[in-house]
Symmetry: C2
Subunit: 448 residues, 2 copies
Amino acid sequence: MSKPLVTPRTLKGFRDYLPEAMLAREGLIDTARRVYRSYGYAPIDTPALEYLEVLRGKGSDETDKQLYAFQDNGGRDVGLRFDLTVPLARFAAEHTGELGLPFKRYHIASVWRGENTQRGRYREFMQCDFDTIGAVGPASDIETLLVTSDLFAAIGFDAVTIRINHRGVLGGMLEAIGLAEQATSVLRALDKLAKIGPEKVRAEIEQAAGATATQSAKIVALAGVSGDTYTVLQKLEAMVAGPAGKSEAGAAGVARLRDVLDGVAAAGVPPGRIKIDPSIARGLDYYTGLVFETTLDALPGIGSVASGGRYDNLAALFTKQELPGIGGSLGLDRLLAAMEELKMLPATRTPAPVFMPLFADECLAGVLKLAAELRSAGIGVEVYSEPKKLSKQLQYADKKGFRVAVIAGQDELAKGEAQVKDLANGQSVTASAAGLLDEVRRVLDGQE
Amino acid sequence: MSKPLVTPRTLKGFRDYLPEAMLAREGLIDTARRVYRSYGYAPIDTPALEYLEVLRGKGSDETDKQLYAFQDNGGRDVGLRFDLTVPLARFAAEHTGELGLPFKRYHIASVWRGENTQRGRYREFMQCDFDTIGAVGPASDIETLLVTSDLFAAIGFDAVTIRINHRGVLGGMLEAIGLAEQATSVLRALDKLAKIGPEKVRAEIEQAAGATATQSAKIVALAGVSGDTYTVLQKLEAMVAGPAGKSEAGAAGVARLRDVLDGVAAAGVPPGRIKIDPSIARGLDYYTGLVFETTLDALPGIGSVASGGRYDNLAALFTKQELPGIGGSLGLDRLLAAMEELKMLPATRTPAPVFMPLFADECLAGVLKLAAELRSAGIGVEVYSEPKKLSKQLQYADKKGFRVAVIAGQDELAKGEAQVKDLANGQSVTASAAGLLDEVRRVLDGQE
């Protein structure tokens, strides 16, 4: 008696990646790795599963609720990582003795959150992080922005805007106007600026932080400072020197922003790509210095596609050693969605550009020989797996998006020839075996 | 009151990958992907978590016992995938309508098994599979072996031996000598040949399969057939034509082996790299045609580093559609262990070859500019993150394994120069800013 069939389906909230989507993802991940590596960030990996105590209470109440937690077969309480930052903290606390500081790593891996699956959000997604641990100077701040800028240029975006801010600037101003203790509730209100507008934010600041109308006006004015970069710096400098005296932290924050802007300019980042935006806060507790967000000029509405910032102490929950650092993260899924919308993704389902049909098993040896020659010149070739009608095979090639068909039946093979067909325009040329590589290259180069 | 510290530790049976190990892994994975792609295999990915009913009962009793199974927050019974073959079966049953056949995919991803952690085995490891689904002819058998052969050449192994067999050969012989019904117990005994020797295997065959001494002798003789490839084929042909009449399946198996050997020779695989070994069985139930294993000639004792075979029906548990195919898998961890033993892994902890120390924050702009120029020429450069004593920075560079240091302090920058230091031999040359790239290239090229 045969078993009843199991319905083939992916788990709710999860998805398969078919070749077309996966080719785009692999391309993007490759680019990110290449750029990270070009600055000396080295890859690491950590287990998908961690002891639950490593994960629980390390993110927010929300991440705790969304944790995939269970007991393993040995009765240990374990969980699937929900980000790559908590594992990095655990990793750094465990290994920096061996690795030394500064330590620069990238980590590109899946994370899991039992989120509400509405709005196209998935419970498994990939994070693409880079961090420098053990460095406090402007060099690592600057480098983090250079990586981000290079990354988008390498992906193919000429026009992105990286908005930067420094947590010391707002903190310094609050200090200067005597509201330092209320920083958390002020930040929480300010985070809603884009959504609810300045009037409602001021009302919330006055109510939640017990601020006066003058104080709330100053705070909202700070977040709204704009203009030419060096003008903004001057305005911010003035604002952190309030009636209660100049704030050291605020002045230091503005000075760091100035260093950072000088540094990225020296390294050749085009003017205007990196802008100060005093409204950027990026969450409440974690970041302590530079923070940044990145938007695509062609599609700003989808939000930030790369962001990050500086922290004073990565692994306070695991070690007494202070581990300051700075990191950034590429928003892979959001960026892929944007690239699809902007039609920047090639419509191909094959990683090999050349297709060779198979007319009969008798042709196989000759076809395999030609295919091997093209491959040894670095050109990917798919040979169709079964002898079938040519029209059917070319239909397959068309559906997959091959660029070139190299057609060699018994007649061609006997004559030492092959037809090279440009699948974009349908034109065919007959090539000798010796001239095949050049002819295929000619068609492939023609498309670029 | 601060929380007590959580001990930073990896879960029992799991491990972190530090940069040195991860650089080697990424290199190997890149090579595998490049070779798979060059034959038109396209990447896919599937979720780490599947419905438990998709996973349970799909491997062996052992994989069932080792499953990481639990209930998710929505009360669904789920499990972590224990291989990439069951997810491929589920995937193929779900998507081949959309993708069409033949379908060639590779899948490189982590799997989880709650195995006994003795003997250096881990509970999370990576599989590196490629399969062609929907093809039954010799072309896909041949291609699977070509991929395997190319893969090891691309990794840097000139000398590997791929041992092939066909499940029809032994089956055919059993048919020919009247033992077809006892195939499973015969295979189980034969699998122990290398371990317990021919005498004990014969005894087990006689006892478990009720075979006569003549029959067990023939079976063990078949497994021991050796010699020049085409001689082996002739011997096998004779052996599958037994006293009970010639076996069709056996003859077809031998004929397929002949086609496969002709094909790989036509595609340029060096003679002797692929050998027939009638003792290779590769498990009991799954494979139905060609099977293969690969050993490193320099280190045969570590066992097979790439293996696979042909199956009649991938997804019988999910769909009534028959999905025949053939696939192979690279044994990543075993191969990395071998490469370490053979000293084939570069001792580096940095993906960037060039190191630039930082003498003072005042030098930063000049150093960043030089680093950006080298990077735009495709050369990775790590700039040290803080101004520190040069000796300390060079110690860091040495520990990481950089190849070149480009040293530019205030004096050099003022003169538009930099020192280029070959870290392998300690020799330094002064280069002008304009000549820096050539000088760095000269040192980097010198090492190859």
